[in-house]
Assembly symmetry: C2
Amino acid sequence: MNISRTSYPRVVIIGGGFAGISLAKKLSKQEVQVVLLDKNNYHTFQPLLYQVSTGGLEPDSIAYPIRKILKDFPNFHFRLADVTKIEPASRTVITDIGELKYDYLVVASGSKTNYFGNESIEKHSMAMKTIPQSLNLRSLILENFEEALLTSDLNERNALMNFVIVGGGPTGVELAGALAEIKKGILPKDYPDLDTRLAQIHIVQSGNCLLKGMSDKASTKAEDFLEKLGVNIWKNVRVTNYDGKTVTTDSDLTFETATLVWAAGVKGATINGLDAENLVTRGNRLLVNEFNQLIGFENIFAVGDVACMVTDSFPNGLPMMAQPAIQQGEQLGDNLLALTEKKPMKPFEYHNKGVMATIGRNKAVVDLPRFKLQGVFAWYVWMFVHLFFLIGFRNRMVVFVNWVYNYIRFDREARLIIRPYKKTIR
Amino acid sequence: MNISRTSYPRVVIIGGGFAGISLAKKLSKQEVQVVLLDKNNYHTFQPLLYQVSTGGLEPDSIAYPIRKILKDFPNFHFRLADVTKIEPASRTVITDIGELKYDYLVVASGSKTNYFGNESIEKHSMAMKTIPQSLNLRSLILENFEEALLTSDLNERNALMNFVIVGGGPTGVELAGALAEIKKGILPKDYPDLDTRLAQIHIVQSGNCLLKGMSDKASTKAEDFLEKLGVNIWKNVRVTNYDGKTVTTDSDLTFETATLVWAAGVKGATINGLDAENLVTRGNRLLVNEFNQLIGFENIFAVGDVACMVTDSFPNGLPMMAQPAIQQGEQLGDNLLALTEKKPMKPFEYHNKGVMATIGRNKAVVDLPRFKLQGVFAWYVWMFVHLFFLIGFRNRMVVFVNWVYNYIRFDREARLIIRPYKKTIR
């Protein structure tokens, strides 16, 4: 990669997610050369992907060009690259567009869907971790209803109208709620030829509650909200397989469905060269110390989902969410500058600012450090926080316009099959 | 196709473009059963596709779900279908999802890119007639600049930064203007490592003026605007070939470019079974009489781009634009109702409400029947008219927000490579 060296030390950041971007912002006007690498030329606001899948938001409103974030920063370089390997001995990052030397390396490569080794599920299910994946799901949902119109086989029609979501975390809960609202508000009008009351939404959770990371109150209320919306909740059920038609579980329970959404787990998106056994912990994450420093390396760091920082409160590592990622990115920015000035680094301390999930119209659950909210006011808090953290004024405006419109009109107008999923991609 | 017959006569409309939708609206509360068939589940507002390609608008804001347009209409059915053949003898439409009988058939299948038989150009060039095509072009433009950063071969880098647009109609002119503004306002900030002044935008026109269908004044002024924006205008030059690298012309002139946009012509998207020689005229359009009735058929009609209606003012047929399509759709709606009531049909009369094109910020040309405008005021007229004709309040709001933002900030934030073109599609 032809990026000229300057007299400043070079920091290479892999990944433009929450962690990578907040780190980059911290380093923006400092005496370091920064090279940010990402597979995409945009930052994705992952918490709203489920609204893309369900036609509530356009994909472009939750994506933001990385180059635009960096444009006023001197000493910044962005390259659209897929990192294939890291060679710590020679301080080199190897990518699909060439090699690059670093003085400091920050791995902020995030997480990817964890299928726990089940290839059949991986092949036949839908994930919702990226914008293209979310658009594929949007297309598939709509294609299924178009196809349901064409069959006179009742079982096939029901399978096309059934949705099974595996995983009771925020992604699963939010998607289930949105699908239930579509079933109620949009399907009967859009498909008068179909008996859309037969469409079923199932959420399957291996543990004994939804929203495991949140309070009991939030969990119970979320269940309550989903049940009122007509979602079928299956707890203590583990999905064992899916062949594109039938979902089998560890009990007698099976589902016939054309759409399985796999939101049952994520794992760190580690990179070759840093995946030695002693570095990688539970969930395929890189073990870091309190400075986000990779165990055994002076100049390699990991932040965000891919980093596993164990604390007293989080013996399995900090949660894989936006907040720890943003805070680690910011703290590491300060620490890298300290390092270059030969000053001591400060240990990272996680400030839990709250966890939240929305179930639907006027329905959200919010656990703040001091108090917990459920219902309408929680929903406003959820919206405000998400608008606030979204990058870019235009994105905020467009999302706001969509939300106001969707709220007033009970609608989701981005129900568009722009790239058919079944015909062209599968 | 399992659509039950009612006592009403059945009108099958092929295509949900301007003509098909305006016809459908006219028939909405009448005593006819209407089946609308389209390859997509959305209506595309084609005049703004170039803004999708250039990152100024998100695709979802110029698409509108067809089912939503039809949702309050009784006796309406939509099917996502690709029509493969028409059998007039048995009054049957054959599609990829089955057959359908009609009493009245309306072909509103629009137009497609005309490569005039040049397969090499068809294979290597980019078109801009559909949303996926426009998104492919958006991705390619951005990928080219990312790639230009990686090469040290100056010729290759220049080829990646050069854009050749073939065709001086509204599409070509609007795209050239938008690219010129991107070159000026966005590239230098986004790609500080590149000398983006070297990026060249060429528009090549076989005739001796741009915007042939418009007034001399509009044509001259458009040229003037483009030149001021730094676009290279080549008139009386016919592109003869493109192999993915070099554009050859009928003169000594050649261009090295990684991106050729073919906007040099369209032809009617006729359908098998109706493509007999006596039916099809210049530009592959179906010859219709003053009632939009296909020559030789009582119950088959064509409207919009695919229909060729010859008038005194338009000896080669009405122009392939939104206005004639919308007006023909509306008129045919009245005429079909007249037919079912055994009343006489009224001949179609085209009311030219004006033709317009925008070149860029504060720069547009508008030919109205009574007067002609160029410049800032024309630009406001252009925007107002396009917002007015866009379907859906949400779309109008989102487009408006984007335009205001882009205007104030000199920006286009949808510069996102959501689906890479080179890597996955080509």
